[in-house]
Symmetry: C2
Subunit: 393 residues, 2 copies
């Protein structure tokens, strides 16, 4: 185990009807007069959610401003619009309503408003944010993770660079999570969410840090629960219990607990991000394609860890075969599970051409000047090898 | 799953040499000039710990005051002394150095100083604290749990009442946890700590709340890790990896995560607290005696949960026998494990007489006017039955 610091200040407000508390909760953390509500599609206006939020804020005499139209792989352009709006109207609190994209957008606006330079500086690594407007979230998508995380990922349309910012400062002050708000999501998006939360855990699980028994077991426990409840929640989309497990697992997968004392990897996310950025493929779908192929590329680096993963998470019997067979069987079972969730397993299935591997690998590795990941450090050639494995027949 | 709110603001600073950061960390949270250091025995002065703390505080120009002599089952008398000292010297930050007892004492002093009435009001339920001095901890005992929890338990010498206060307000702002600081602890205290952290998890595990798959699995994962590493850390007291797992597991066992969305029980703790309060028996030893006997009294209430516990935590095979046999085998394996840790399993082994069951049961149930626990609600007669089961032959 390596030394670590861990705190998680985001207050989770979880359960049925909790969206009605949003006004009170904002008031608990801020004496703001104006709130910017950041959201994606008009879905939240077609059901009662938007109205509920407005009513709850009005009770606290808070004026609502809107910034809609956040897209998956949220764009820098809209972040800049949000920053301008906040400055012009003197808005001091940002409420995201939706999934990871509105939340990541809200976080970006939050650090952008008090900053004199361009907000992209924080994502390109040119500057580190010192202050932020307070942000909060009402989650309508399981597995965003962003609702209690220290990260925000934004896509710069000028070159389609997708970059992340990681900092305790940007954790939301609270997040309201009512699993019922996620019932109307299309199955495809639920499937993407389930893969994404599993990937968040696996990026932490595959580590070179020795002596991490407790966090290994916590990761495995969460993965097993996600596997069981992920399948059930697709079959029974309006069953509260299954959905609630998935929604809470999605938060824990990404709030930092599971990586305490461990080096993390995150190569698969970066490789998948280039795919999502270039082809606008949903984040979870990219991960369903990339993660198993990353595994097949790296598993020999620590076969015992892959055996443990296969046995404890995927119930592969220790007598199944040799270590290599056990490890590969675990990966195979994971792919079959992703398939059950309706995910593509290859670029071909996702109707993505095989002609931009070098371009994407160049972007991911900054023209082969940086490596990706920690479990195995991947250079441009390795990343291209993994993209090739993703092709499909 | 039931609705819940969860946040854990205590910053955990975990790992080797972290005690050297104490001054900086206090400065991060407070501009205080004076700190009260609360501790138990002079052990921390015999090694370098006290000196390290003083030096780190001096670098921040912080003046140190001392309140030593905290006993296991920490006493109200010393809390009152601490409150007087803080008021007299205008001390505004309290640092506990030690295990659960100094931390619980620090929390009690923290809420007592700004309160006009008697601090016992908060423990007797007569009043609820509105404010507190900031507190922090340097942990020298694994399994305190108190270092990131919202609870404090104090014993009132006037009648030997042991009572708890539970409130988010009293969580420490940070806790420094260096597993190496626990190496010199006697084996008996390590054993007590391991039982205590397991009990913290089991009080959350045995619930009537349905549909709690994720938190069930997280509890089971932590218990398994504690069982393996608890035994190893007794065998190899200065092996960092085993000790680190136990120290971190002790915090997670009690920080509130494992009970998210679940009703908790806590009858065993209350029954054990009367034993500890009356006979000054270590908390963990009381729990080692009481918890298995509580289980044997209640297991028929939800045999399936006890079967799950036996199978997933204690590796009892599902084909071991009928449900009842499997459940009881799980409890039996737990008792054998407690024995390996050097714990007493009966009152007789702890040299405690069997003549005060009614007195203790009266205290625990406030003369049969309140019941204990939620999994099964226990009246005075039930509590006496459990004490009788604890006797031993």
């Amino acid at each position: 185990m390596i030394n670590f610091e861990f705190s998680n200040v985001t207050e989770i407000v979880f359960g049925k009807e909790t969206q009605k508390q949003v006004g009170e909760k904002i008031r608990k953390y801020s004496d703001c007069q104006k709130v910017l509500i950041v959201y994606g599609s008009d879905r939240i206006k077609k059901n009662d959610l938007f109205q509920t939020v407005e009513e709850s804020l009005q009770k606290q005499k808070i004026q609502c401003y809107e910034l809609g139209g956040v897209l998956p792989n949220p764009r820098l352009g809209l972040v800049r619009q949000g920053i301008e709006l906040c400055r012009k109207e003197n808005i001091t609190f940002i409420l995201a309503v939706g999934g990871g994209s509105p939340i990541d957008t809200a976080k970006a606006i939050g650090v952008g408003v008090p900053y004199e330079g361009d907000v992209w500086d924080f994502y390109s690594g040119k500057a580190v944010p010192k202050e932020t407007l307070k942000t909060a979230a009402i989650c309508t998508i399981p597995a965003a993770g962003s609702e209690a995380s220290q990260s925000s990922v934004i896509t710069n349309e000028d070159g389609w660079f997708k970059k992340g910012l990681n900092l305790d400062l940007i954790r939301p002050v609270f997040s309201i999570m009512n699993p019922e708000l996620t019932y109307t999501l299309p199955k495809y998006q639920i499937g993407c969410g389930v893969v994404d939360m599993m990937a968040h855990i696996m990026e932490r699980y595959f580590t070179n840090t020795a002596d991490v028994d407790l966090t290994d077991r916590l990761c495995e426990a969460a993965l097993r629960s996600i596997i069981i409840n992920g399948e059930k929640t697709l079959l029974y989309p309006d069953h509260y219990a299954y959905r609630a497990e998935i929604v809470w697992a999605g938060t824990l997968a990404h709030n930092g607990l599971f990586n305490t004392g461990r080096e993390q990897d995150w190569a698969s996310h970066k490789i998948a991000q280039e795919l999502s950025g270039k082809y606008d493929l949903a984040h979870g779908a990219s991960l369903a394609i990339v993660f198993p192929n990353w595994m097949k590329y790296v598993y020999t680096h620590d076969i015992d860890r892959f055996v443990q993963f296969a046995v404890r998470v995927w119930d592969v019997d220790l007598a199944f075969g040799k270590k290599e067979e056990i490890a590969l069987e675990g990966i195979d079972r994971m792919q079959k599970f992703f398939q059950k969730l309706g995910m593509p397993l290859t670029l071909k299935e996702a109707e993505i051409p095989a002609d931009a591997f070098e371009e994407m690998a160049d972007k991911a590795t900054n023209k082969d000047t940086v490596t990706l990941g920690n479990f195995v450090k991947l250079n441009k050639k390795a990343v291209m090898n993994i993209y090739s494995r993703c092709k499909g027949k």
